[in-house]
Amino acid sequence: MSDTKIVDARDTFCPGPLMELITHMKQSSVGDTLELLSTDEGSGADVPEWVNKVGHEILSNEKINGVWHIKIRKAK
């Protein structure tokens, strides 16, 4: 069981948060959990779209005080 790695992409615009997440996903191991923080409004829908398309797992997705917190488990 590994700790959640925070990917703080607040204050960047599309596709900045997604590319930040992908960069960190590449450096992570299968089973790792990452939490993306994004103020880009489209991230709440777009990031899960990417995660599902490439076959990882969305653990949670919520907006807290204007910031999307999207938790992902690297599945492969």
Partner: protein, 130 residues
């Protein structure tokens, strides 16, 4: 299912280069096969040491230029190559006219490519022009 996406960049303005780079980076990082053909006024931005900003076309380009959090098109194209194996292909005709060789380009730029070769490789895929 992955797609084949071919992007032709010919316009040297910020909005068009940005949109092309956004599509290239997201598509490549999602597993699509992405090739970007660089020619005409788009190609000088990829010559080493080129520091001039691409001029904006309109209102949104001006807003984008002011925002610090907008990833630059150069960075997005680099990410397309590094994260998704996209190919950035300089037009051999434009290189002849500019009198540059492959060594004059940024590291992420692929081999000189003729239009015939690009069109042949692009067969069956989507073609987007900016």
């Amino acid at each position: 299912m992955s797609q084949k996406i071919n992007i032709i960049c010919v316009t040297g303005t910020r909005e068009k280069l940005q949109m092309a780079a956004m599509i290239a980076s997201v598509a490549a990082a999602t597993g699509d096969e992405v090739s970007v053909f660089l020619s005409m006024n788009a190609i000088p931005y990829f010559v080493k040491g080129h520091t001039e900003d691409a001029p904006v076309e309109g209102e949104l380009g001006a807003l984008m230029a002011k925002e610090k959090g907008v990833p630059s098109f150069k960075v997005l194209f680099q990410q397309a190559v590094e994260l998704g194996d996209a190919k950035l292909l300089p037009c051999s005709m434009a290189m002849d006219i500019m009198k540059v060789t492959h060594d004059d380009f940024d590291a992420e730029i692929g081999p000189a490519t003729g239009l015939t070769r690009f069109l042949s490789d692009a067969e069956g895929g989507q073609m987007l022009t900016f």
